[in-house]
Amino acid sequence: MTRQEKKFSGSALEGKHHINLTVNGQLYELAIGTGAGKVNPSDTLSFTLRETLGLTGTKVSCDSGACGGCTVIMDGRAVLSCMLLSIECDEKEITTIEGLKNPKTGELDPLQQSFIDHTAFQCGFCTPGMIMSSKALLNDNPSPTEEEVKEALSGNFCRCISHYQIVRAVMAVSGKGK
């Protein structure tokens, strides 16, 4: 299978000609079909985000649900965008790494700032996924313990071993949500 192609077996969309995705607060109406700007039924969400919408902040590494690199937040929960078909995401609300900044002030999310302050990255390729997984955790549980942070990030591959600094960065904002 290719990096963008996954099996489509759903039928809920039969007869539909487009999907609606809200990404980072912006509504996209995307036609289903082949060609530029359209969503092919076999396109993954990561492909649509990166290639169709140009939001390349979401990273793809394994493209098979094993590394967490492509994590985005969908309806409040962390999901692996390489494992979802875009057409399954009709009417969903998605936040990517590009959507964490305060759109009005341009200010970074405190979690992003904390990643900078703790240098919670080395090569930085896993960082968007790490931040999105952490963000989903904090949304759900604003004061996680260190163990909870480690558990929440256990699906995120980081080969540089930045975990220690990442956990510290997340813990620095833990509790601030309360």
């Binding site: 290719t2 098979s64 990255f121 540089c160």
Partner: protein, 766 residues
């Protein structure tokens, strides 16, 4: 050498990484994030057989597929060769499961994949050999017509023409053994060929402009080295430009990206369009760089006080189907053995053997980690015989000022660095070695089936001063500075450190300094980060360039300030003044008017310094399940001067990943010995450490000034993976009270050693 702490403005301070904002907002452009007009996607059709001749290859159906732009086979490929023995980019013979059979360029990935399925290949299947010893036997299957016994020559590589050390032979080993109180003869292997697996896959984009100009966008940390490797492949006539950007991890391996780059280049040459080739994770795990396999059979002699009197034996290195750098890795590994083991009598003879598996090559630890993982266990057997504490023996035997070693170029170097004993002592104290060490094959503690054991390992590398670096520092007439450097960022934060170093020399605010992208069209030559050379070599060149620029600025400023004594000039924040009369001052902008000054700096190789890291590990073995839990790691080092505390911590914590400590616990590439297929080519079956199972890591970092450059610092990051694996083997052996001989120490191996074989169900399904 200065011993008083300098008061630095930036050096040693924890500061945000220059690229931090972009990284956390997803703006950092990795290779796959770049946009190109008319971009085609390149794919590789790979062999399902470990050894075969391509009898016939039919691409006609695939070519008819709409959107397919080019298909290249061994019949149509340019005659580009690389490696040892020199292999064609596409050959009629395939030599491992995954070897390249055809290259496809198409408008989309989907079409390229479809085309792959439409190519018809008829193979003449040949018998294959996967075991390093089998491959050397008389009558073994030959991978190459002109490589009898599948044995590769030592001592040179095909590109540099340099001579590499081929062995460690010095003194008189017979005399050494005669002086020994204990002699041990045996073998250890570190042959589980782990994969460093950068999260970003190997990739390249190429644009070939006829007749002979090629631009490559690469995802690695060595743009100039890429150019140097590709030049002899493409031929002198071809003008090569390499553009580097953010690199999503390499750990050495991506320095060996010549094949993926050539695939993209060949497809672009064939189509006239830019072509992107990105390996899938499956390709990265099955067809990209593995650690070399090591088997050491040797005899060591040791005296009661821990003096090593002789080391003699053979070091067999399995490199897979070809080698690009194994010769150099052996040369470095030999030197690193001499650095870690002060011994007057050596006779260690390496050899390199080819088999029908994917190639080994550069991985952090570069030859030395491999040899050390076998040599330290062997020395441990001698220590056990003499009831010696391994910490004391390893400390005693690490290179000291006044000692020397043969380095990779076979030349002798007198070591002029520091004594690392103090760092080792501090590490032992932090770890609690004295309390935890109970003697050989004795657990530190036992609670039911849980046995705790401790171990220690050491590593040092004189490649901290390898090869060449150059940089320009340009001071513009607006008072801002541009560092012109071929350095790309691959995770160490070294680009930020270069800016810091230049800011320190020129006493400028950081935001006044920028650094060019690593682009060979623009920058002077830069070997790039490797062997922890960044701190000494790369910063060294940048510091000299900044000094040179400052000198030139002062030459212009001096007459304006009415002096000819440059010594009397001082500068900070874009102002120059007279030390003797600080009222006399002038703004850089006034000095420069419509002028820029450019300073040049160069670093030339120096192998007379070595870094050092000692790792202590504490782990728990469950004697019922065989499972090992790593509880605690203490890394001890002395870096002269910390440049960037956060970056340093990240690099030292990296001891676990990228085929490091975990290669002794669960990381391995599993090659099916009957089919030659790698069985774990995905990130589920290839085990990696998750955040849920992090041991405690403590890093003990001393700062004894080292005679490197003006900041007295030496790099360390590359070797952080290296001392740990042998320490794990030692700790696990101590925990269970029996010697373990193989990496990784899987539950099966623990139980087998304990005489409890894993329950095997017969005839059941999986």
């Amino acid at each position: 050498m200065k011993s008083v702490a300098e008061n630095y403005r930036y050096i040693g301070k924890a500061m945000p990484r220059m690229d931090g904002q972009e990284i956390v907002t997803g703006k950092t452009a990795f290779l796959d994030d770049l946009k190109f007009h008319n971009l085609l996607i390149g794919k590789v059709l790979r062999s399902p057989h470990p050894h075969a001749m391509i009898k016939r290859i039919d691409t006609s159906k695939a070519e008819q597929l709409k959107g397919v732009k080019a298909i290249i086979t061994h019949e149509t490929a340019p005659d580009w060769k690389g490696g040892l023995p020199p292999i064609r980019l596409l050959d009629r013979k395939v030599r491992y499961v995954g070897d390249v059979v055809a290259l496809i360029a198409a408008e989309t990935e989907r079409i390229a994949d479809q085309a792959k399925r439409l190519i018809n290949v008829e193979y003449e299947i040949l018998p294959a050999v996967f075991d390093d010893y089998e491959a050397m036997k008389p009558g073994a299957i030959q991978l190459y017509d002109d490589l009898p016994g599948n044995i590769l020559p030592l001592g040179s590589d095909e590109i540099s023409g340099a001579t590499w050390a081929t062995e460690i032979v010095t003194g008189d080993v017979e005399k050494g053994f005669a002086e020994a109180d204990a002699i041990i003869e045996g073998g250890f292997a570190y042959d589980n060929i782990p994969n460093p697996i950068s999260i970003e896959s190997p990739a390249a984009v190429a644009l070939w402009e006829e007749p002979d100009k090629v631009t490559l966008w690469v995802s690695n940390h060595k743009v100039w080295n890429n150019k140097r490797l590709l030049s002899p492949i493409f031929g002198d006539k071809v003008q090569i430009r390499i553009i580097g950007g953010a690199c999503g991890g390499s750990y050495g391996a991506k320095a060996m990206s010549w094949q993926v780059q050539c695939y993209a280049a060949a497809l672009s040459k064939a189509t006239g369009q830019p072509v992107k080739v990105i390996f899938s994770k499956e390709e990265q795990l099955g067809c990209f760089i593995l650690r070399p396999a090591t088997r050491l059979n040797a005899k060591v002699g040791m005296q009661k006080d821990g003096t090593v009197t002789a080391v003699a034996g053979s070091w067999l290195v399995g490199t897979g189907y070809y080698s690009r750098t194994t010769q150099i890795q052996i040369a470095v590994g030999c030197g690193e053995a001499m650095i870690a083991v002060r011994c007057n009598n050596w006779n260690v003879k390496p050899s390199i053997v080819c088999t029908n598996r994917n190639a080994s090559g550069i991985v952090r630890g570069f030859g030395g980690q491999e040899l050390k993982c076998a040599l330290i266990p062997l020395l441990s057997l001698a220590m056990e015989k003499l009831s010696l504490d391994p910490f004391e023996v390893l400390k005693k035997n690490f290179v000291k000022p006044g000692d020397g070693y043969f380095w990779r170029n076979a030349a002798w170097y007198n070591y002029r660095g520091i004594d690392y004993s103090r760092a080792m002592d501090e590490g032992a104290k932090t770890f609690g070695w004295k309390e935890k060490w109970k003697g050989w094959l004795k657990p530190t503690a036992v609670e039911g089936t849980k046995h705790i054991g401790v171990g220690v390992g050491v590593h040092g590398n004189a490649d901290v001063g390898e090869d060449m670096s150059e940089a320009y520092v340009r001071i513009d007439n607006d008072g801002r500075v541009v560092v012109i450097s071929g350095l790309t960022e691959h995770g160490t934060g070294q680009r930020s450190n270069v800016v810091k170093a230049v800011a320190e020399v020129l006493q400028l605010p950081l935001e006044f300094i920028s650094i060019t992208p690593g682009d060979t069209l623009v920058t002077p030559v830069e070997w790039g980060p490797a062997g922890s050379r960044g701190t000494y070599a790369i910063l060294g060149a940048a510091i000299s360039a900044a000094d040179d620029a400052k000198k030139k600025l002062f030459q212009l400023a001096a007459p304006m300030l009415g002096t000819d004594n440059f010594e009397d000039l001082e500068t900070a924040d874009g102002i120059i003044w007279l030390k003797s009369d600080p009222e006399k001052r002038i703004d850089w902008k006034k000095v420069l008017k419509f002028r820029t000054v450019i300073g040049h700096g160069r670093f030339d190789e120096d192998f007379s310094l070595s870094n050092c890291m000692m790792s202590f590990v504490e782990l728990q073995v469950d004697t019922e399940t065989g499972k090992i839990d790593l509880l605690r790691v203490v890394n001890a080092t002395d870096v002269g001067k910390v440049i960037d505390p956060h970056g340093l911590e990240g690099q030292l914590n990296g001891c676990l990943g990228s085929a490091g400590i975990d290669s002794a616990i669960f990381e391995e590439t599993i090659l099916d010995p009957t089919t030659g297929c790698i069985l774990n080519t995905n990130l589920i079956d290839y085990k990696w450490r998750t955040s849920a199972e992090l041991p405690v890591i403590e890093n003990v970092v001393l700062e004894t000034p080292i005679d490197s450059h003006r900041f007295h610092a030496l790099g360390i990051g590359e070797i952080s993976t290296s001392p740990g694996p042998s320490a794990v083997l030692m700790a696990a052996s101590n925990a269970i009270g029996q010697w373990l001989h193989e990496y990784p120490v899987t539950p099966e191996r623990v139980l087998k050693t304990l005489g409890k074989s894993m329950e095997k169900k017969q005839g059941g399904s999986l």
